[in-house]
């Protein structure tokens, strides 16, 4: 009898732990985070808007849990009994529970959202870099003053981006040869692999590149000295158009940067904090705004692409978080290897950057 009860408890705990690992839980949670993380920064003070988002999150978590319990026929009593037993501790981990606990712990929630926001920014930057070869000036040296940590972060980021670009070029090259070969052999060519969402982003973005340059002519895509050096052949079709435009704001910004980076550490923090700094000049404000707009655009695009790939993809596997969609069978070995390498790089970058904070 007692053994039967224990089995029952174990079953309830395992069932719920399984649910928390699965897509029915992780997809709506991840989607919520991606859509709402934008306002979360790592300032000590919290914004009033966080509270509203937090309450929405609480409601979402509660609804998902309740619906699931109803579906599998676990009543609240059984649930309580199961999760009060010592088994609950041995059969679950903090990692699984984090998204649940965040609904009862505002500070944990905030930390999670800040982290997600940083991840999204990095992803956006990577996509920009992949597309252009270089980052627009407003995203690199421009008007920004980097702290030591940030400079190191940028170093890592640049390295990752450079590698990623190289790989992309190799891939393109290979594709071209393959295509040529295929044309000789057969008329029907599979152009892009549906499983590779990066590919989709690239295609989409390159068509939009022209628009961007028109919308923000003050944000030249020439890139900084450094990144230009690193990329002897920048693939940046919009450069020419912007070069001739007057760009007094950026030039000024650069001079300011030089002056400022000579000293005054405290000002860096103000810069970093952005909007709030009362002693920002008009140009600096403008540049910050530009940068914000640019990133925002990228994010929206990213979100749209993610959503698309989610709805197109077959029922996703349990471990959806930040993973590339599973490679398709038709993917060549080389491609798989490249993807694997990229994933590792991204992981490393994430670890380095986020853990430092």
């Amino acid at each position: 009898m007692a053994a039967g009860e224990e089995d029952d408890v174990e079953w309830v705990v395992d069932t719920i732990a399984g649910f928390l690992r699965g897509p029915a839980w992780s997809i709506p949670i991840l989607e919520f985070m991606e859509h709402n993380c934008e306002v979360f920064d790592d300032e000590e003070e919290s914004k009033l808007s966080y509270t509203e988002i937090y309450q929405e999150y609480q409601a979402l978590v509660e609804r998902l849990l309740e619906d699931y319990l109803k579906e599998v026929g676990i009543n609240e009593e059984k649930f309580q009994e199961a999760f009060s037993s010592p088994l609950a501790k041995t059969h679950t981990s903090q990692a699984i529970l984090q998204t649940v606990l965040a609904a009862e712990d505002f500070r944990l929630f905030k930390k999670m959202m800040v982290q997600k926001n940083i991840e999204m920014q990095l992803q956006a930057i990577r996509i920009i870099k992949e597309r252009n070869g270089v980052l627009p000036e407003c995203l690199t040296e421009g008007s920004d003053v980097f702290s030591e940590i940030e400079q190191e972060e940028m170093k890592i980021l640049r390295e990752v981006l450079r590698k990623s670009k190289e790989e992309y070029e190799i891939e393109q090259e290979r594709k071209r040869t393959e295509e040529a070969r295929a044309k000789l052999k057969a008329p029907d060519v599979t152009h892009s692999c549906p499983g590779d969402s990066r590919e989709a982003v690239k295609v989409k973005e390159s068509t939009e590149g022209a628009e961007h340059s028109e919308e923000s002519p003050k944000c030249p895509l020439e890139g900084s000295h450094k990144s230009t050096k690193e990329d002897p052949t920048p693939v940046c079709p919009v450069q020419k158009g912007t070069e001739n435009l007057p760009q007094p704001s950026c030039t000024k910004g650069k001079e300011d940067t030089k002056k400022r980076s000579a000293g005054k550490g405290s000002e860096n923090t103000v810069q970093k904090a952005g909007v709030k700094g009362p002693d920002l000049s008009e140009t600096e404000k403008q540049q910050l705004k530009q940068r914000e707009d640019y990133l925002k655009k990228k994010r929206d695009l990213l979100l749209a692409t993610k959503k698309e790939s989610k709805s197109n993809a077959p029922p996703p596997s349990s471990d959806q978080k930040e993973e590339e969609p599973p490679p398709k069978e038709e993917m060549s070995e080389e491609k798989q290897r490249l993807l694997q390498k990229r994933k590792m790089l991204a992981e490393k970058l994430k670890e380095e950057v986020i853990n430092k904070r």
Binding site: E45, S46, T51, F79, S84, A103, E104
Partner: protein, 183 residues
């Protein structure tokens, strides 16, 4: 609310009791300074709070999660969103700002009428006693008609969040309140 989650919450493995304390008062009363003082942090560079701050303070074996919400007039309507499941209310007053005694009294009266705070103990800090123009705590208590509060425990404590004087006395009262409740 969130009955399911409170069960899972236990798995987080912090055995100590956690309490929620809300810190309110007009702008420039010294709420954030007091919060930082409680958390033994630097209090020299504090700017007006546009949103809110949270800090955990250990006191007499209890974990106090203290929520400090900005006091500017435009933010005050948001106060009520933070009152749910509050164990104790701290209200901070700038004792030297005589012109706004009436305003702060009104805000406090309105707060204490809120359903979420029914029966919740109230600690009033008569802050900024380091200023020569500060009114004594007794005078402020009278101005606030604290003696008419019969449905809750209350206490007024003179203090200076800047120097730290009187702050510990207030915390001792809080602990005694919580101990009494547990019995």
């Amino acid at each position: 609310m969130l009955g399911l989650l409170s069960v899972i919450q236990k798995l987080k493995g912090s055995p100590e009791q956690e309490l929620r304390i809300v810190l309110l008062g007009l702008d420039n009363a010294g709420k954030t300074t007091l919060l930082k003082r409680l958390a033994s942090e630097e209090v020299s560079t504090i700017t007006p709070t546009q949103g809110f701050n949270i800090k955990s303070v250990q006191s007499h074996g209890l974990k106090l999660n203290v929520w400090d919400i900005g006091g500017q007039r435009s933010i005050r309507p948001y106060w009520k969103k933070y009152l749910g499941s509050t164990d104790l209310l701290i209200y901070v007053i700038d004792s030297a700002d005589q012109k706004r005694f009436e305003e702060t009294g009104q805000e406090l009266a309105e707060l204490t009428e809120d359903e979420s705070l029914t029966g919740v103990p109230l600690l009033v800090f008569a802050n900024k006693q380091d200023l020569v123009t500060a009114a004594p705590a007794a005078e402020i208590a009278e101005g606030l008609s604290l003696h008419t509060y019969r449905d809750r425990e209350w206490q007024i404590q003179a203090c200076s969040a800047l120097s730290g004087e009187g702050v510990q006395d207030g915390m001792n009262w809080i602990s005694s309140q919580i101990m009494n409740r547990k019995k």
